[in-house]
Symmetry: C2
Subunit: 131 residues, 2 copies
């Protein structure tokens, strides 16, 4: 069980890089080496970030990407939501007949609690914290 997939991982690196770079825009070629990923793959991730509103893009020579929000307003939970999908709550373990003998779905409630606390932790980490 990985908490972060590659997209989120690389996106975090790139956003930190952009947060540090004091430039209006940063092109992918300037980031890909330090981020440690191929240009085309990073571009695909950046395009997702653009569509999700984390960055805006400038096409053409001299263009690139720039943060569309301040680093402290980009939370890890946001990146996960945009690039990795929502936390999927496990289906009830006790959907079956077992439930008839039991007041509530204990495991479901326990796991739901765990997941909400996990989500809260992810919300507490921002790009600013990492930069």
């Amino acid at each position: 069980m990985k908490l972060l997939n590659r997209d989120v991982d690389y996106a975090a690196r790139a956003l930190v890089f952009m947060a540090r770079a004091n430039r209006p825009t940063v092109p992918v070629v300037k980031m890909r080496e330090e981020v440690g990923v191929s240009g085309p793959f990073l571009r695909k991730i950046m395009q997702k970030l653009q569509k999700a509103g984390f960055v805006h893009s400038v096409k053409g020579k001299g263009g690139g990407f720039a943060l569309a929000r301040r680093p402290e307003n980009i939370r890890l939970s946001d990146l996960i939501g945009a690039l990795q999908g929502p936390l999927k709550f496990n289906e009830c373990v006790f959907k079956q007949k077992l439930c008839q003998h039991h007041d509530a779905c204990v495991l479901r409630r326990r796991i739901a609690g765990v997941e909400s606390r996990l989500a809260a932790e992810m919300e507490g980490i921002t790009i600013r914290d990492l930069a």
Copy 2:
């Protein structure tokens, strides 16, 4: 990101069933309906549980499976470890050059903290809690 996979899910159901059943052994055919899974698949899971020491098995007619530990000594984290693999800590996001400009790998530490707290939550849930 699912916290529990199917194996863990079904295993939890089966172990709860066994904890409630006051019998020396429980055969798969007696469990599969309430667990909500096919016999062969549940058998495969039970075999894993047997190898991992959660249950012991009795072959032959009248046989089946029995808990090898008390329910309060079977933790969700144990099941995850046996059926789903260990929590894989994400590789350092800042393995690359970025680290040269930074004292420590902040994201790595943050995620490691999150994961250890997650593991602790899983350790706090036992079959007894669910039964």
